[in-house]
């Protein structure tokens, strides 16, 4: 299976700093078309296209818009927040969009705002993504000059403008409710859910939070229609997905493929294994993801299929390990990461992430009784998952349980 670039079709073709280049390549055509439709029609089109959120959860984008637009009709303001706080280890798909074609996701943001009739929005970008910040700032400035942002956009009577908010090195702020806290100028502590952002988001107002890649799909779907979109991918996961494959492959990088590609096909596309080594394992979806072994190479990488097999698609990160790599070291790295990023609000997560690292140290030190220790770690991670507020405390069980399932290194 070859690459199918619909989101990344302008990468390397246009100058990302030049809005006229973007316009010549079809930029803002989707917005033009959307502004002539009723907002509810835009939502309907996206819902029927079957687009699912690319941040990891895979929830219907159209449904999310519908809830947000209907949750509080008396509220004086609705917001769109772009989640550009890409921090999941092994993931860099949003960075590619922001650096190479920033107008694409900006156009998608404006379409989303129109769909839910929001007049204000924020783009929350992680502080380390300097180039993405710079490119987005320029794109916003140029879009304002062309009348794609601001008052009465393209004579439609619709007003919308957007500002950039910077993250400052907290992975947790990629979680939508924590992001809203941070965006408001507070410490990145998660909020209790429900209420969801669709009901009570930023400043207590209904808020649509979408990932960069999700929003990049909107201009294409509106411009070409839902039927065109549904021809790509699978019935339940239409469209394409940008996979970022890294580690022990010959050509690590980003690859946009129709949903439903297998892990083996993805590795082949990335030039096969590095130096012809044998495949040992892959970590799918980053640290908050799952390990798989060679038995999963022929599985189709869709949200639902992977979930049925006990794995995750998540952000689309695929970290490949080869014969000779210690999968245990990578598990240790993930657990250390969670310890570092735990905000400390929920005790099970604050204490649990530290305990898991201590135990992972013991696993590496090769003391006897390791199999029992690993089993205990999985059990503790399960307790953390059921007693922590946010996805951080809920995540360590994913790499841990899948590691225990597939790998005998510690038995």
């Amino acid at each position: 299976m070859g690459e199918k670039r619909i989101l990344l079709k302008n990468v390397g073709v246009i100058d990302p700093g030049c809005i006229d280049d973007a316009i010549r390549a079809g930029g803002y055509e989707g917005l033009k078309k959307a502004l002539k439709m009723e907002p509810a029609m835009v939502i309907g089109e996206l819902t029927e296209a079957g687009l699912r959120g690319r941040g990891g959860a895979g929830f219907s984008t159209g449904m999310k818009q519908k809830f947000t637009s209907e949750s509080c009709l008396k509220c004086p303001q609705r917001y769109v927040v772009v989640n550009a706080d890409e921090g999941e280890p092994g993931t860099f798909k949003d960075r590619v969009i922001m650096e190479q074609d920033p107008h694409l996701y900006l156009e998608g943001t404006i379409i989303a705002a129109y769909a839910i009739q929001a007049t204000k929005g924020f783009i929350y970008i992680r502080g380390e993504y300097h180039e993405s910040i710079r490119k987005t700032e320029k794109a916003i400035k140029d879009a304002r000059k062309k009348g794609f942002l601001g008052k009465n956009i393209m004579g439609s009577g619709f007003d919308f403008d957007v500002g950039i908010k910077l993250g400052a090195g907290s992975y947790l702020c990629g979680e939508e409710l924590t992001m809203l806290e941070s965006l408001e100028g507070k410490r990145g502590h998660p909020r209790i859910k429900p209420p969801f952002p669709a009901e009570k988001g930023v400043f207590g107002m209904p808020t649509l939070v979408n990932n960069v890649e999700t929003l990049a799909n909107l201009p294409r779907i509106i411009a070409h229609g839902k039927d065109w979109y549904r021809k790509l991918g699978t019935e339940r996961s239409p469209g394409t997905k940008i996979f970022t494959i890294s580690g022990q492959v010959a050509k690590p990088g980003y690859y946009e493929l129709p949903m439903g590609v297998t892990l083996q096909e993805l590795i082949d596309l990335a030039g096969g294994m590095r130096d012809g080594k044998a495949f040992k394992a892959a970590l799918l979806g980053g640290a908050a993801g799952t390990f798989v072994d060679a038995t999963m190479l022929s599985e189709r990488m869709t949200y639902d299929n992977l979930r049925e097999k006990g794995a995750t698609l998540g952000s689309g990160a695929v970290i490949v390990m080869a014969e000779g790599d210690a999968v245990l070291d990578i598990l240790h790295n993930c657990l250390r990461f969670f310890k570092h990023e735990s905000c400390g609000k929920c005790v099970p997560c604050r204490v649990g992430t530290t305990q898991l690292v201590k135990k992972a140290d013991q696993l590496r030190n090769g003391q006897p009784g390791k199999a029992a220790l690993l089993k205990q770690m999985v059990r503790e991670a399960e307790i953390m998952a059921s007693t922590s507020l946010c996805p951080l405390g809920q995540s360590p069980v994913l790499p841990l349980e899948s590691f225990a399932r597939y790998f005998k290194e510690v038995k």
Binding site: P89, G127, K165, A168, S170, F203, Q248, G253, A287, N333
Partner: protein
């Protein structure tokens, strides 16, 4: 630019706090947030000092301690670990004569560890202030450090 001039570029609303702290830190020669900067920010946004301090302390990218002119952030993600980031760490520590979290005595470099920098297509990676360096080997690291030292002399 004075602290006041930097702060006043922003509207006095709490949701500008992180952007303000970034601007203050980036313009400080030692890449840090001073007590005076935090106090003035709190007054400008009508927030308590403790809440501004709490935010500054929470986020990894902010520092209340003076740091070097160049902040080296070495990525320690699983991908960089697989591709031997620990060897790059050893080269940096040896060349600079410091450990992670420390600053060189000439005040030029601070060495920090970072979670995934999102540059996994060409690991291992590091950032020096806002610049990204990928596909690092020993020679590349040495070259970058030499370049930075030369820049200082100019």
């Amino acid at each position: 630019m004075s602290i006041e001039e930097i702060i006043k570029q922003f509207e006095p609303v709490q949701h500008n706090l992180l952007n303000i702290l970034h601007a203050l830190q980036d313009r400080h020669p030692q890449n840090c947030l001073t007590e005076q900067a935090l106090d003035e920010t709190a007054r400008y946004l009508k927030l308590t000092k403790s809440s501004v301090y709490g935010v500054a302390k929470y986020y990894t990218m902010f520092s209340l301690e003076p740091r070097g002119r160049y902040i080296i952030r070495l990525c320690v993600s699983p991908v960089c670990e697989l591709l031997k980031a620990n060897q790059i760490m050893a080269v940096l520590e040896k060349n600079l004569g410091i450990r992670a979290g420390e600053t060189t005595s000439d005040g030029l470099f601070t060495l920090e560890l970072s979670e995934c920098l999102g540059q996994c297509q060409e690991a291992p990676s590091m950032m020096v202030n806002n610049e990204v360096y990928n596909g690092l080997g020993e020679e590349e690291v040495q070259r970058v450090l030499v370049r930075m030292r030369r820049r200082k002399k100019k």
